[in-house]
Amino acid sequence: MTRVLGWLAVVALASGLLVGFGIAPREMTQGNVQRIMYLHVPAVWVAYLAFAVGFAASVAYLVRRRPGADRLAHAASEVGVLFLGVNIATGAIWGKPTWGTWWTWDARLTSVSVVFVMYVAYLLLRQAVDDREQAARYGAVLAIVAALNIPLVHFSVFWWRTLHQPPSILKSGPSTMPDVILTALLVNFAALALLGAYFVAKRVGVLAAEAEALA
């Protein structure tokens, strides 16, 4: 099952590359740099999807107390951190030639980076607690608080930024996206979602093997 998921991800990633580089046209104002978007944007979608799975699995763990739910929560949050890291890194790489700076405290960059550190802290907590069952309980509580906090982070950062400076840079570009670019985006989203699912499945397997070995 995991293996099938892996091969599906490979095929989807290959088609994603093909669509992103071969079929989608060169963007007029930004040039080839714009193609980073096909990795950058799907990565953040997959990350938030993974956090949503982590939240649901954490709630499920607290209700049912099945170790499997905890492993899913752990793996999903880990994959979420990975993809959010990819999103932030590709954003910086895109930002340098386009905005002239690697980083700016713009609303979206700030809110995403706050969410990123919140989940890095989650991983640190999981690492610091030795007892498996205790780590699962604490992790579930933190994952729930972190997920509930995401809307608060977004609102506060958005107001904080937009009250001070108008969104001048982010508004550039065409408001309606050409179909071919949208297609390339969705194909790559599917590819990264499959890759993320594969990682989660693999990590759940490793965590289960770890639990078995240490039991």
């Binding site: 607290l62 706050v114 550190v117 919140m118 890095v120 802290a121 640190l124 907590l125 610091a128 607690v129 030795d130 007892d131 069952e133 205790q134 309980r137 604490y138 579930a140 509580v141 933190l142 729930i144 608080v145 972190a146 509930l148 906090n149 608060l152 982070v153 609102f155 506060s156 950062v157 107001w159 904080w160 009250l163």
Partner: protein
Amino acid sequence: MTFARRTLTVAWKDLLVERRAKESLNALVFFSLLLLFLFQFALGPDRDRLQAVLPGALWLGFLLAGLLALGRAFQVERENDCWEALLLVPGDKSAIYLGKLVGSLVVMLVVEALVLALFTVFFNVDLAAAGAGLVLVVVLGTLGFAAVGTLFSAMTAHVRARELLFPVLLLPVLVPVLLATVEATAGLFRGEPIGAVSRWLGLLAAADVVYVVAGILTFDVILEG
């Protein structure tokens, strides 16, 4: 005993211990005073610049002092071998959470009131202008802070490297509270009416509700085992 009674009993116990030993309070007030010195040295004597960063410095001070206060909330129970006895509180364990929360909240508010008084003296701010709005911001902000802090303090009480882990867990979650309190305080210091900062007060109130409810619902889970 009703839930409210049990909550108040835990809070009362904490406050009584604090009043008699003054262990945290003295150190926290002194720590905040030291922070004032440090801010002054780090930022330089330029009055305009100080005025501009004052709300941020003030809340950073509250945050750092609060980290120390909250980090100890459950630690003292361990040190005094009272942890098991505390768990014997009958009924719903979230009464312990709320009691601890109220106790920490009161201590933090006392410290913050003293720090605010010191700020007016050392940085020459007119707090009266900010008035009731400032009180509201401080209470709402501190409540949100203490609500998450109490939950995480209980969580990290049994974890190794807890002194490190507690701030590492707490600070990222508190970003919305910090942003809202700093922005609202800055607005009030500029002489804006409460209405002008109402969206921040709304955010703080929403955050308080989310954190307190999450704390009540999940505290049982932390105490298990």
